[in-house]
């Protein structure tokens, strides 16, 4: 009888701990890869600012910065998410600070980045540090850092074009990568 009771108690503990572990194991904010649009919606305390067949968008703040949160779905499964910085700066160099702030918190959470680089496609402003923001906006300079977890690839990117700068933190599912590729191929074929 005592043995049976111990087994029941042990089973109960295992179930309880595995449940709590499972519940807290999020991939992005309060979501997990493969979640449906309805599940993601219920995980967000905000009102969606954009909603289409495969995309959910929210306006929020992280690290005191105004960002758009975008959730991307394929066949009603969450496959990719993004934080897109929407703050603007008169001094374009301030975007580098934003990028570094994102890098810092991601490093704090996921450890040292797998890749942490800046690429000069055009050296025009390379020797003029005060113009690096302008260099990014012209597409001359790109910053990239990335991390990898068991299920997720995380990319922190600072890039630009036509004098506009994009600072994006992107999360994508490793397991659903194939599904995303197939959907993209199908989409490409539909064009032709």
């Amino acid at each position: 009888m005592k043995k049976l009771l111990s087994i029941i108690l042990l089973a109960l503990f295992v179930v309880l701990f595995s449940e709590s572990g499972f519940a807290g194991d999020y991939n992005f904010r309060k979501t997990k890869w493969g979640m449906s649009i309805a599940q993601v919606k219920s995980s967000e305390p905000l009102e969606a600012s954009e909603e289409s067949e495969n995309i959910l968008g929210y306006k929020t703040q992280v690290l005191g910065k105004n960002v758009l949160v975008a959730y991307f779905f394929i066949d009603n499964q969450l496959v990719r998410t993004r934080y897109i910085l929407v703050d603007s700066h008169t001094n374009k160099n301030d975007f580098i600070t934003d990028y570094n702030d994102f890098k810092e918190i991601l490093t704090k959470k996921y450890g040292k980045p797998k890749e942490d680089e800046s690429y000069w496609k055009n050296d025009l402003y390379k020797d003029n540090h005060s113009h690096w923001g302008t260099a990014i906006s012209m597409g001359h300079l790109v910053y990239i850092s990335n991390w990898e977890t068991k299920d997720t690839e995380i990319n922190n990117i600072l890039t630009g074009e036509n004098f506009n700068i994009s600072c994006i933190v992107e999360y994508s599912s490793k397991n659903l990568e194939e599904l995303e590729k197939k959907a993209q191929e199908k989409k490409n074929l539909e064009v032709f």
Partner: protein, 189 residues
């Protein structure tokens, strides 16, 4: 006899208080002034059909019309013995205690702007056309608008009408659009 003195005293007090409120004559005078300005601005707005000067003229015209409408409402109320009260955010509007002070400040600002206007008008006469002409003319119209805005505030304050900022606070709306969700930032990454 003492009763008569008390009555006379009350009558004087009442009259003295009434005299602080601008009369309908003053309202009529201000409305006539606004009519004159509206006529001038309408001509200017018709003269320029596009571009920044047309926009500035139309803004000025609408501001003047709004001010006139507010004063007309007040004068109609006085003439028809309809008491008009204004309630702002559930509270009845009472003119600010330092009303005279604010009015003096506004008068001073308007006077300064009128001096700037004279200078800008002289400057714009030097250019007949071209980009510089357009720029100097837009400066003239911008100052005229500033004067109109201050005069609107002045007239409304003078006649105890609350002044509303109708334009939405862009910064505030932006702030409310982007709301921080509960929890630590690190958990959101």
């Amino acid at each position: 006899m003492p009763r008569l003195i008390i009555l006379i005293f009350f009558a004087f007090t009442l009259l003295a208080n009434c005299s602080r409120v601008p009369s309908s004559e003053e309202l009529e005078k201000d409305i006539a002034l606004l009519d004159k300005r509206i006529e001038e601005t309408t001509k200017a707005a018709q003269e320029y059909t596009g571009g920044i000067i047309s926009v500035l003229s139309n803004v000025r015209l609408e501001t003047l019309k709004t001010t006139k409408a507010m004063l007309e409402q007040k004068i109609t109320g006085i003439k028809r013995y309809i008491p008009i009260s204004y309630t702002v955010s559930g509270k009845e509007y009472t003119p600010p205690e330092n009303k005279q002070e604010i009015m003096l400040e506004l008068e001073r600002d308007i006077k300064e702007l009128k001096e700037d206007l004279s200078e800008a008008e002289v400057e714009s006469e030097d250019y007949n056309s071209g980009l510089l002409g357009e720029l100097s003319l837009s400066k003239v119209f911008s100052i005229k608008n500033s004067i109109t805005f201050l005069e609107q505030k002045y007239f409304l304050l003078k006649h105890d009408i609350p002044f509303y900022l109708v334009m939405p606070d862009a910064q505030k709306s932006e702030e409310t659009d982007f709301i921080q969700t509960p929890g630590e930032d690190i958990d959101k990454f």
